[in-house]
């Protein structure tokens, strides 16, 4: 029996003959109007136009256009027009602080890539990091300081602030600095110096997506308020409880890489960790799990208690003393999980994203029982990627409410937007006399502030980062500041009468504080140059006596399940989406148009409901529902959002992504092409999505994102969500194919892999009617994508967009199935025991040898190269779109418009090595032909033979999991040739015999072989 894969609920419930409603490549028919009698008519008009054009050409073809070539006056030594220079720096898009290599062309950065030498990110970069480049060229950024909303000079603003601060200092007033997590040691030190000049000053740190409970729990159990560093690569058994560690939790790039290492499938038996995930909504981490269980929001505590009790029993510990009741999930698999964890003592890992400190204490207890501290969890070399303390935030809110704060500085945070309605920061902040924001772009907090002292974009600034103890990296500017902004560290120093630029501040701090921690003794100059060149250096961590590592710590209190909720009760799950996180990049159109890996929704947020919950409420996808909460704060009681139906979600959960409804998204009203039928690119509120942050609960000293009870009522209105879920479906007509003959995705249990079964359909070549007219005597480029490693994080999608100048089309065009991404990630569901299994499949041009697109092009605009590329020649294409109609993989994209590129500043991000396509041209993945050519030419210029290891495509470079491998299929020594012999290797729609150059490796689930459940489809 084969498993049936489906992309949407409609497809699952459709019969054998089901075909997607938009099965046509171009779903909208072209309107051809009949000619009215007595008029020139369409044909007459074309004739006239044709003759007119011929006449103009005949008269006009004589002179070349005049274009100017303006060289440098004095060319800098390291700059060469047409050549890229690379700088190592640190990503500032979130507090994970991954290592970056920045590609500079002609003095401007055009592409960010992961730094393979960075010890944390190890060469990967997430979608947000990739897209943060566009923030640099954002025209809406603050150009200079503002004083009460009006542009002012730095001297003016500095004078005002310095005198106001002097007054506060003089009278002993309360000064508070509210920031997000600061990973920069120099900035932390400068803040410390600055605060020390005030008699009553405090630095309050919070994270919009908080992990405060983990730090609080470690303060209780280990006597140190710190976030440990998790080593997923060393864990053989992983249990995740509401922690999306592959998607958005703390440091997803680092964790993805580690997770992949633990599931590398090397050796025999293959190395493959066992991953159990308990969660309410569906996350990309849950999609990778070997055993995924849906739990209701708020059941994290009971689940962890039950798991801890089972582990404790194996450890010979009678815990808990009392009865904790029935587990909210099936007991037998939980027993099995506890057994696996216990068997893998010291090489297991239990993580939880729950914001209840008591639950986190139990999580620490389990990990302590399993002996994971010091092995997979490092508390002595902690992570600094989340430093927020929600309790301090609560104290600050109380102080603000009491009017006890005289001055408030806000940096790297947007509290007026991302704090719960309970705290009501926007109202409280108005009571402060001196409110200063350091926001680089206009945001909700800066709008309230009396003074805005805008910070640089991180690519313009000297700074540094220490995301984990002992791993320090440099942030160096790659271009001069575009506007009149100033680094925070400079602003603070300036207000202390220290006029040094950021470069000197950073360098001085490194010399005094970081250099002494360097173990290979070398001159500071060498150390500094190494750090700037490599981007990251390893440092010693000051040994500190680790307090009771849990051994002598008192046993934690169990968290029992509460009273069973009434039937049909719903609770909230607020989660950061992979593209938007906490909303700090809402101004970025690349991220807005990135389909969410789970919902595939773009340009909007939505309330996800499980199919059963939606059925019982009687709502369909796109129905706008009113979500009401109880509680004391009526201001935040309601929210109206469109429904999205999410298989795999718990029936009691309502999942809403955070980070939407930012004020800065007003600008997208006219995103996309303007034509007769175009619709605004924003929702009815004039913004992209709706801010769900007011629904966060501040309770027990932490920000809680889940578990709040809500009621849902349909409003009767509908919104058509711009979801790509049903777009570009590879059609598998079941009436013509017997089951199993057309594999799109494949899965296998790990036992089948260790048995080294040959794949079905092992004979690949030498079939069919096609003559073998593509001999590929030299090189044949191939790309192999490991679906087992792929998490669906979508970093490749954005990397491809940046590298290949792919336009943003806007919400309305996405609804019309006209998104332009060359690389999309199809995600397929299959029914599993009580939930769904999900497979993510990056789908791009398959570079077929017998390419169906090539045979139908009337103008030979798509033809084959000698080394296996399916080439698309834009200047030849006349836009018949036959090729797209004939592509079985649905990977060709048509330029319906010349997409808006009017923004001269934003256009600086365009890759000068790739043509900017115009209207009426077909395009598709070129396998980064510009990179292949560059590698070949530079190898030839060096006099070396070109090796396929010299070049990596944009998607491959960015992938945090290393799932994508490019290489020469004809070279037996290449990695791709070895992978093509792997038993997991398959080609999509192999029986079509189009001989694709792109292949896939099957997903491996660490499950027992069960012919009914796990097989090939």
């Amino acid at each position: 029996m084969s498993r049936r894969y489906w992309k949407s609920i409609e497809e699952r419930d459709g019969g054998e003959d089901w075909l997607p409603a938009d099965r046509d490549e171009f779903p909208e028919p072209l309107a051809v109007l009949p000619d009215a009698p007595g008029t020139l008519g369409r044909r007459g008009f074309l004739k006239a136009a044709g003759f007119g054009l011929a006449g103009t050409l005949a008269a006009g073809c004589q002179r070349g256009p005049v274009s100017k070539a303006i060289p440098f006056l004095n060319q800098p030594e390291e700059v060469m027009p047409g050549r890229a220079t690379w700088y190592a720096t640190t990503c500032g898009a979130c507090s994970a602080a991954c290592g970056l290599l920045v590609k500079n062309r002609d003095g401007r950065p055009i592409k960010l890539e992961g730094n393979p030498q960075h010890p944390l990110s190890r060469g990967g970069l997430c979608a947000v990091g990739q897209a943060s480049l566009l923030g640099l060229y954002d025209r809406w950024r603050h150009r200079g300081p503002l004083k009460r909303g009006q542009p002012a000079s730095w001297a003016d603003v500095d004078a005002d602030i310095v005198s106001a601060l002097a007054a506060i200092r003089h009278r002993g007033g309360a000064l508070r600095l509210l920031t997000g997590t600061i990973v920069s040691p120099t900035l932390s030190a400068t803040i410390g110096r600055f605060m020390a000049t005030f008699p009553n000053a405090r630095h309050v740190v919070y994270d919009a997506i908080s992990s405060s409970a983990i730090l609080d729990a470690h303060e209780r159990t280990h006597g140190r308020r710190a976030l440990p560093r998790y080593h997923f690569g060393q864990a053989a058994v992983i249990a995740g409880v509401d922690a999306d560690f592959l998607g958005t939790w703390i440091s997803p790039v680092e964790f993805t890489r580690g997770y992949r290492d633990g599931r590398s499938l090397e050796g025999n038996p293959p190395r493959c960790s066992y991953h159990a995930q308990f969660e309410s909504g569906l996350t990309i981490t849950g999609t990778k799990a070997d055993w995924r269980t849906r739990i209701a929001p708020g059941e994290e505590g009971p689940v962890l208690t039950q798991l801890a009790a089972r582990v404790a029993r194996r450890a010979g510990l009678a815990w808990p003393a009392g009865d904790v009741g029935m587990p909210p999930v099936p007991g037998a698999p939980l027993d099995d999980l506890a057994g696996r964890l216990w068997a893998a003592r010291g090489a297991s890992l239990v993580v939880s994203g729950c914001q209840d400190v008591a639950v986190q204490v139990i999580c620490n207890f389990v990990n302590h029982l399993l002996g994971n501290y010091g092995r997979t969890i490092d508390i002595n070399r902690p992570s600094y990627q989340r430093g927020g303390c929600d309790a301090a935030l609560g104290e600050l809110a109380a102080e603000l409410a009491a009017g006890a704060v005289d001055g408030l500085l806000v940096a790297a945070a947007n509290p007026a937007y991302d704090l719960p309605a309970d705290l009501d920061f926007a109202t409280l902040a108005r009571r402060v006399d001196l409110l200063v924001s350091f926001a680089g772009s206009p945001d909700e907090t800066a709008a309230l502030a009396g003074y805005v002292c805008p910070d640089h974009h991180y690519l313009e600034a000297w700074s540094d980062a220490e995301p984990a103890a002992g791993c320090a990296s440099i942030t160096q500017p790659v271009l001069a500041p575009i506007g009149g902004t100033r680094a925070i560290v400079e602003s603070l120093a300036r207000w202390m009468d220290d006029a040094r630029p950021a470069y000197e501040l950073v360098r001085a701090h490194w010399e005094s504080a970081l250099f002494p921690r360097r173990i290979p003794v070398e001159p500071f100059e060498t150390f500094w140059d190494t750090a700037v060149h490599d981007g990251a250096v390893e440092l010693q961590v000051a040994p500190r006596e680790s307090a009771a590592s849990g051994t002598s710590a008192p046993l934690p209190d169990p968290v029992a399940a509460g009273a069973a909720p009434p039937e049909g009760a719903l609770s909230l799950v607020l989660y950061p989406s992979v593209g938007q996180l906490d909303g700090r990049h809402a101004h970025n159109p690349w991220l807005q148009e990135l389909p969410d890996p789970i919902t595939k929704v773009t340009w909007d947020n939505c309330a996800s409901l499980s199919p059963d919950a939606a059925a019982s409420l009687g709502v369909r996808e796109g129905d706008v529902v009113r979500i009401e909460t109880g509680g004391p704060s009526p201001a935040a009681a309601a929210l109206e959002l469109p429904v999205y139906i999410q298989p795999g979600q718990h029936d009691r959960a309502v999942a809403i992504p955070l980070g939407y409804g930012r004020a800065s998204t007003e600008r997208f009203t006219r995103a996309g092409p303007h034509w007769l039928e175009s619709q605004p690119g924003v929702g009815p509120n004039g913004l992209v999505g709706i801010n769900a942050a007011p629904l966060i609960v501040f309770e027990g000293g932490t920000l809680r994102y889940g578990g709040r009870a809500v009621r849902i009522a349909p409003t009767g209105r509908r919104i058509e969500l711009a979801t790509t879920q049903r777009h570009h479906s590879i059609i598998e007509p079941r009436q013509v194919s017997s089951a199993g003959s057309r594999p799109i995705v494949r899965e296998m249990p790990v036992s089948a892999l260790s048995a080294q079964q040959p794949p079905p359909g092992a004979t690949r070549e030498g079939r069919g009617l096609w003559p073998d007219d593509h001999p590929y005597s030299g090189r044949r480029w191939g790309l192999i994508i490991d679906l087992n490693a792929c998490t669906g994080c979508s970093a490749c999608v954005v990397a491809c967009q940046v590298e290949n100048n792919i336009p943003v089309v806007g919400r309305d065009e996405v609804r019309r199935q006209r998104e332009m991404h060359w690389l999309r990630i199809d995600r397929y569901f299959t029914d599993a025991d009580e939930s769904v299994d999900v497979v993510h499949q990056p789908m791009l041009c398959q570079h077929c040898a017998n390419a169906p697109c090539e045979t139908v092009c009337p103008v030979l605009a798509t033809v084959h190269s000698a080394d296996g590329l399916n080439q698309q020649v834009y200047n030849r294409c006349v836009g018949t779109r036959y090729c797209a109609n004939n592509c079985p993989y649905k990977v060709r994209r048509f330029n319906w418009f010349t997409y808006a590129r009017a923004d001269a500043v934003e256009n600086l991000v365009l890759n000068p090595d790739v043509t900017v396509r115009t209207r009426g041209v077909m395009e598709k993945c070129s396998l980064c032909a510009q990179r292949l050519l560059e590698a070949r030419i530079s190898a030839r210029a060096r006099g070396e033979p070109a090796r396929d290891t010299d070049v990596r495509t944009a998607c491959e470079q960015s992938c945090p999991a290393g799932a994508i491998v490019l290489g020469d299929l004809n070279d037996p020594a290449s990695r791709v040739a070895a992978l093509a012999k792997d038993p997991r290797y398959f080609q999509v729609l192999e029986d079509l015999n189009v001989r694709p150059g792109v292949g896939y490796l099957a997903v491996v689930r660490n499950r027992d072989a069960d012919p009914g459940k796990a097989g090939h489809v």
Binding site: R43, L57, P71, G82, T915, V916, L932, L933
Partner: protein, 217 residues
Amino acid sequence: MSSRLVTVVLLVGLSYNLLAVAPRIANWRLPGDHTDYEPAQPVAFSHRVHAGELQVACLYCHFGAERSRHAGIPPLNVCMNCHRFVTAPIGAVRAEDVLAVKENRRPLRIVSPEIAKIYRALGLGDNLAPDPARTPEPVAWITVHNLPDFVYFDHRPHVAAAVTCQTCHGPVETMERVRQVQALTMGWCVNCHRDATRRGVADRSANASIDCVSCHF
């Protein structure tokens, strides 16, 4: 309006157009073919003097050809390597020397008007010291060999394969003002690539690709 009438009117219009261009028919070329384009440049730089008489190597000024896709127009600091000392043609300097001897005085400093444009562009005074009254401003040369935006020509592989500059740019060392000699159309490129693969370049075998992605991506 009958269709035949429309056609007749259009044919008449086209014939008129053709008549209008008839006197220039000798210059008529296919679209994209700019052979013999020879625009006047902002500085009357002579390739005949530099590359021809003085035998300055092409790559001395166009040093990008080995390292970048673009051969590059030299920045003015390259000009100043020589023109810091050479301020006028040697004939004019000698004539001044002869005149000075005859008039029994020190020879004057001769700066030719074209070289003076370099100094002005760099913001230098006549004594070659920075002149605060002058703002440096780069020279806006007029591109002669201009390929369409959808073509990605790269100099490096051609230089590495020992294709001479003159193959594509013509006898530049004889030109007072640079003129486009070859058509630089795709057919011309592809023919040369085919010939190179068949016969080799400079007595070495060559593998000149004729794949579309070699130039279009």
